[in-house]
Symmetry: D2
Subunit: 376 residues, 4 copies
């Protein structure tokens, strides 16, 4: 794979929001990408970034963007960008991202709007970068076909963390049959202002609107493969389709809770393997620790050097102590043990604002560059 030899100009949509601030922080020091344009709502457009943003990161606003004038989220304002990262809210992301794609821009989105689109890959970069193979078919839907424009989405923050070990397990031991996951999700997953403090201090909220459905559905799309449709398919014989893990049907049940944690989603997972007997806890630990995703092999600069750390201490992972593992790009697993109902249970921790959001989009773009899916 050839790494780019010249800086690639990129833009950020929704740059003043929670995820947008993370994009800006990460891209300001990226080895390949250079921040060229920042987009936000009409209310912010025209103002220097430092004035438009209510900055909530623990590092200062990168000096290079303090005085950058925020643009409106229209494609004409991002013409010089090869890639656009979207941290837009779902209520506006659909139309804007579609317009950017139609203007032949490569869009890597953190929004949910296109995740269920049958031609849009839903990619967790440590899991299913192979789904980028759908891009040509996505571009071919347009008349004339798009040369460079497309949309790739990343997954919901609570899905991202736990599909990494699930994928590692399927790679090592074959298909899973059932997954039961209970999440303890950080408040930053709800954006800003997000969760009112009166709702969460000294409290747990055992419900996050739409979250369980997202986990249950997205897991199938991500862990499933791409298959060629038969003649009865609306796309016609030979069209590519996401198979939703159809070869080995997978039942997923999620229960989602909000807890008073700033960053880092903790997830208690139980799984049942198709293979009997199932692997032992020790085999599972070894398979998880050994897992290396394509993104790492490709040499993506933002991919974690080690993907999954398996804790031996009985009380880890913990969000406050482990969310910075691999700068938030890695995944922590602990407490791998037998489950009396399914086969194996364990705890996953993933940083919802890093690998669970902006970092995922950036690695997705890195992979797409290395695989020549992004034309530059």
């Amino acid at each position: 794979m050839q790494h780019p030899t010249a800086p690639i100009p990129v833009g950020v949509l929704g740059a003043t929001g929670t995820v947008g601030q993370r994009f800006v922080t990460l891209l300001a020091v990226h080895p390949w990408f250079v921040l060229h344009a920042l987009g936000a709502s009409p209310r912010s457009a025209g103002r220097p970034y430092a004035q438009a943003v209510n900055w909530k990161q623990t590092t200062p606003i990168p000096a290079a963007v303090r005085d950058v004038v925020v643009r409106e989220c229209v494609p004409e304002a991002f013409r010089e960008c090869t890639i656009v990262f979207s941290g837009l809210d779902a209520d506006v992301a659909g139309d804007i991202e579609a317009a950017f794609r139609a203007a032949d821009l490569a869009v890597f989105s953190n929004a949910k709007n296109f995740r269920r689109d049958p031609h849009v890959p839903l990619i967790v970069p440590l899991v299913n970068t192979a789904h980028l193979a759908m891009i040509p078919q996505q571009q071919a839907q347009f008349t004339p076909p798009l040369a460079r424009g497309f949309i790739v989405t990343n997954a919901n923050c609570s899905t991202t963390g736990y599909v990494v070990p699930l994928h590692a397990l399927e790679r090592a031991f074959g298909p899973l049959e059932a997954v039961l996951v209970t999440t303890l999700q950080a408040i930053s997953g709800a954006g800003y202002p997000g969760v009112p403090s009166l709702d969460i201090i000294d409290n747990v909220v055992p419900y996050i609107a739409g979250e369980e459905e997202k986990i249950e559905w997205e897991t199938l799309k991500i862990l499933g493969g791409l298959s060629r449709a038969d003649a009865s398919s609306p796309g016609g014989a030979g069209a590519l389709a996401f198979d939703m893990h159809a070869a080995h049907p997978l039942r997923v049940s999620a229960a989602c809770n909000r807890v008073p944690v700033i960053d880092g989603h903790t997830e208690c997972v139980s799984v049942r393997f198709a293979r009997r007997p199932p692997p032992s806890p020790q085999q599972v630990r070894e398979a998880l620790a050994a897992f290396a995703p394509d993104a790492q092999a490709l040499g993506c600069p933002s991919a974690p050097r080690r993907t999954i750390v398996v804790h031996e201490e009985p009380d880890r992972p913990q969000p406050r102590l482990d969310r910075y593992y691999q700068d938030g790009a890695g995944v922590s697993v602990g407490r791998v043990r037998q489950c009396a109902v399914l086969d194996i249970k364990f705890v996953v921790l993933a940083n919802n604002v890093s690998i669970g959001a902006a970092t995922s989009s950036i690695i997705n773009a890195e992979v797409a560059v290395l695989k020549n899916v992004v034309k530059y």
Copy 2:
């Protein structure tokens, strides 16, 4: 059933501890029981209660006990008590409670030491007061047999909350086959000083030592029945034994987490019924709401008027808002819905310091009085 006509003198062991303070608070206003003696460690013995205790309740120390001189936890100091409630720590509870029983005192304990004893009932008062039938056999182990002394334990705080709806479901729909529970437990469950604040603010600890084993084992003892042993039993043919749900083997898998909540354990539960097809979510909701335990029928003054409240709002129960339901003696259930892996899933909230600890012991004693198990 005849309610007592004269006050019954009671004592509290471990009266200065977290659970002991709850016993004192509740017994100070009890309609039948009158606080006669308070016991604590030798360090506290001899001092007025108000000086010996590091009071952490939001109500003041009851006036009637402020100046009561704390006693050592020896049976001679509690001779006038008919009932003794124990909030002792596990490291001393074993020997002390045994000594009190041997001195022919009725002991209702919150400690774990005797929960696995084959002659000691492990009673959640909203579930299995029928297990008091074991007491004569327990007394008969002694030479000469005890006339009034025995030990009854209540369950671990995380077990107590969720076995109430499980029992209601078994009563309505027959035996369960599998239960998977993930807990989000309050810090007060660990006593005082308990959980260091550095470990839990902005954090979750996905491990509580021994807790998962307790839930998995205690559930079987509580939900199981009493059966007559056959001739091969060490107790001989006809001896009573706790059958650990043996007629319909039940698999229980627990994953326990500590969260930054003061009081109130939240538990995400998935269950599978033996009966096919299983009941619908609506049938489950109705069965839970209709559930009335024996303790209520008997007229126990500390039993909740309604046992289970079923919330219709999607985001309830929540510990901060719902832990005071029925003065902490009731159980809240919400989010009853289908589970893609087992049959039905729901959320349970129980107040770990009330029904999960002191309140349970007190209702157990009330039942034992009404059933003439306590002699007075």
Copy 3:
């Protein structure tokens, strides 16, 4: 004083908000007042209260109001009410409260809009009910003069707590010269949704917009007296005016912080007395403990039985343990000691949603009833 012999019908404006919910909770069990009408925004009007409100109290919605249909906040809808309590937000309270007064209704408001009005008393009921003497002059401003309508406001929640001990000290030891107060304020003071959790978990915000100015100004109006203006006054010779503590100028400096506490404002106060030598810490403790306000002497049913509790333990008061003192109507003081810069320093704790908000308005109304300021 004659207590009312028949129920007095009352209404609540802003009944679905945070303060409004407290009004509803308290008034549902009030011995004199009976809830007759609930008002809220046009969005809520016409719906049963239980549907219109996002109930956030730890006690259930009072049964008597669950099905009460919410009204718009217009005087015609509250004609049968003798008293109207206002928990309206400041952005609408001004016009609505003025309209209710003009319609000859007695308004007791928790909003800030009229606090600086030269004819509106700003009353902390444990301090300056004497300021009700301004009501006739307020009514006389209208043409024709109002017979029953007027507005009385209570103070900002952070002012209320600490002026009670300040007033007790002035009554015992004469005027204060300087007060320096640093607050640690609960999140509930900001209403709902109020403070985003991302801003306050594991954090302190050393700023609350407008709060320091409110404390510094309101303290002078509350602790000051009513005096007769001279001929140069715009009101003419003999008009009553709030003197803003003018006889003994008082310097007040406030520093306000938001902390992650649900309810209960903690305030660190240092004071300097005019009198030299100043009283000793022990004299201050005795004066505070002995303080009995007029509201208590009058027999107001919602007044605390004891107003100020003086803690001897060095680490009290604490919001979580002491905010329920006297059902939140009392004030806790602790750590009375010498100040190396001023004279005496101490810590005050007051429940901002009880005595700091709804409870104050209700006691104000009780006093006004007993003093025949409210005509019924």
Copy 4:
């Protein structure tokens, strides 16, 4: 000043504790110092560091020390060390540090035991490194005089933060007359296990044992100068003594609170200057921002590049957002404004585990190396 040309071997006493872990983390990457020996209690001695420590940092244990065998805290075990940093608890620090000094080792201590010793400098490295001039006299107390051994302490974590701006103000505007400070202190200041979570979640504790006395006394020693005693001094004419700000007596009044914040002490400060009229808020802001301490001029590698950042936003500094400023070695000030009682008030934030503890000791050692007080 000559920077050292060879690594300087250093040891850490109390290496498994909260402050010790910070020392280890910082020293593992220090440009001059190399970790040579780790000391802890006899219980830990003999075990590899990674096993002996309950590691609570968000970065992993430095690889170079994982397998280092922990030693007992006796001088013989640290003979090869030029400098020893002490993170010992106060209950053992006195004897151990004295023994290390007597064995001619240079001790930089975070413990309180020697802070009030008339020959031990109490140094905040951004303020009073000039007090190192006391070392020769400290060494001369011994028979024979010590050649290399001495003790230097740093200040209490709550003192450290706010004396930096106080010193900057005195340098710019002359002596202060009065300082009133109210602190909101993080839980990490109490070590581990430290503050029980039941005491601080949803709570404030308005008391920290001994803390107010420490602030009030240490401020005078740090801000005061060194003066030559007259003939009546016990040390004889010409002996050096800490003058405790005697030339311009300074009154300091502190009120200390514990708040639910992990790291970062927030302090609300009001000051009165001797000079009349006092400086304006704008002059104060400029003086604070311009302040550069000796440690910076000397080129200490751990000194912050900028010492004080002055925030213009009204709601800053905040501990969660600002505690990492300059890797925790700098001090944040905000809300500089007039005080109605004294002259000027402002908010200070300092990272209590960095500049407030280990970082201070390390910079002190760096200064002592550069000034040739440490012989190596």
